[in-house]
């Protein structure tokens, strides 16, 4: 039997699939959020050096990881859309951008809250803080370029090109800011083992998974809205039960 690999690359079919998939990501995400936050705030022991304030990292670390990762995924979808001219890829890129910007913002905000008791300053011009801020600027640039072009096909292509240029530039920006100034502590989780307590690890991985599932559920929900918005004049959208009622 031949499988049609591209069946779900059409917005028409993907709309239904995305609707069926959302609960499978949203519910585990919610449950993992509860578990992760519970372990993080009640089970994990107080840190020897940073006392209670270190618990901010349970939100901060997943948000930072995802803010960077989402940009790469977004640029990947943008490239797919530009190369294969698949409409859905551009819609996915557009759907991911606000969530990425949100995580970049949360990462900066929680970082400031953590920095005040630890470093004695809300903001330090350290390499990671600065490049996270620049990442937020890149997201905002992507969103505002897309928003200011009326022709939707041109908007997709132009912002896709911008996302690709940005993703080439991200490592350059990261290293130049790093050589410029470094104050931030190094990573504690390494592939060779870690110095963290087991409960802290559990909390951080649970919350990372929760955020990850949240991103998937959220972008699927947003892409459904984008599909409806762009295909508002087609018969298949107007014959949908949720549109007709």
């Amino acid at each position: 039997m031949a499988i049609n690999w591209f069946k779900y690359s059409a917005p028409t079919t993907f709309y239904g699939l995305a609707g069926k998939l959302i609960p499978f990501f949203a519910w585990p995400s919610a449950i993992l959020f509860v578990i992760g936050l519970y372990i993080g705030f009640f089970v994990a022991p107080t840190d020897a050096v940073q006392s209670e304030a270190y618990r901010i990292m349970f939100i901060h670390v997943p948000a930072s990881i995802l803010s960077m990762f989402i940009y790469l995924i977004m640029a990947g979808y943008a490239a797919l859309g530009l190369i294969f001219k698949t409409r859905l890829s551009a819609m996915m890129a557009q759907a991911l951008a606000p969530t990425g910007a949100l995580f970049a913002f949360i990462s900066l905000w929680t970082g400031a809250l953590w920095g005040k008791p630890m470093w004695g300053a809300w903001w330090v011009w350290d390499a990671r803080l600065t490049s996270e801020l620049i990442l937020l600027f890149l997201y905002l640039g992507f969103i505002s370029l897309h928003a200011s072009i009326d022709d939707i096909r041109r908007a997709d292509k132009a912002s896709a090109l911008l996302a690709i240029v940005g993703s080439v530039n991200v490592p350059i920006i990261y290293f130049s800011v790093k050589w410029w100034n470094t104050l931030h502590q190094g990573s504690t989780i390494k592939f060779s083992g870690t110095s963290m307590h087991i409960a802290m690890q559990e909390a951080i991985f649970a919350l990372l998974a929760a955020c990850w599932l949240y991103v998937i559920a959220m972008s699927l929900a947003r892409v459904r809205s984008i599909i409806l918005e762009r295909e508002a004049n087609t018969t298949w959208v107007n014959s949908l039960p949720e549109v007709r009622s």
Binding site: F137, L145, S148, R153, L161, L162, V165, S176, V177
Partner: protein, 227 residues
């Protein structure tokens, strides 16, 4: 019709853009005046202590250069877009990438080069040492072409949009941060008695990297905007 060589095409585009700019000198001059003004405002804002001015001079000049090059970016393609020349350029049998490179070079000669030439005078206002002044000129000479090259992508993407001027700064400024860091860093290195070779090498590397890729990307952006 005679087939143009690549260099012939480049020369033709550059000569044409320079000639057009010479017919309207005010556009070029306003950018330059803006640059001088922004730099001169800083001492008024932070105070006239020579010690502090010496320290911040390179950063101030670089930020001002960044801002004034943003100011001239929307003009890179807009006149040609409005009178239909750009459409003919896209249809031309010659490579669009080479054409865009020509326009970038012309843009740099009109907006980057004047800044490089006037920067030492502004440096004197900030009481910079002779070595620091030299380094500022060298760093600007290496860095300002990158601003025009990255800027060309932004200018092409925002062609003909409402509020394109602000938008282009929003897109291009974050991408120019490495240039700012190493450009200002080169002068700081000289000030603190270290070698600026690493900063200059990185700037040079950026310029070559940008020279290879940005004309092509900007040409693609133009095609997207002109569809």
């Amino acid at each position: 019709m005679k087939k143009l060589s690549l260099l012939g095409l480049l020369g033709l585009v550059i000569r044409r853009d320079l000639l057009l700019a010479m017919r309207r000198r005010a556009d070029v001059l306003t950018t330059l005046i803006f640059f001088v003004m922004v730099v001169s405002l800083f001492p008024l804002g932070v105070g006239p202590e020579p010690e502090m001015l010496r320290k911040m001079a390179s950063g101030v000049v670089w930020v001002a250069a960044l801002l004034s090059s943003m100011l001239s970016l929307p003009r890179m393609f807009s006149a040609d877009y409005l009178d239909g020349t750009l459409e003919q350029m896209l249809l031309a049998p010659q490579s669009l990438t080479a054409l865009v490179l020509g326009k970038i070079v012309a843009h740099w000669m009109l907006s980057g080069l004047p800044l490089v030439l006037i920067a030492p005078v502004l440096g004197l206002q900030f009481d910079m040492s002779l070595q620091a002044l030299w380094m500022l000129v060298v760093a600007l000479l290496l860095g300002t072409p990158i601003l025009s090259m990255i800027g060309a992508i932004g200018a092409a993407l925002t062609l003909g949009l409402r509020g394109g001027g602000v938008l282009v700064s929003l897109l291009v400024l974050p991408l120019c941060i490495p240039v700012l860091i190493f450009g200002a860093g080169a002068v700081d290195a000289v000030n603190s008695g270290m070698s600026a070779v690493s900063n200059l090498s990185l700037l040079g590397a950026f310029m070559l990297f940008a020279l290879v890729f940005t004309p092509f990307v900007a040409a693609q952006a133009l095609r997207i905007s002109m569809e």
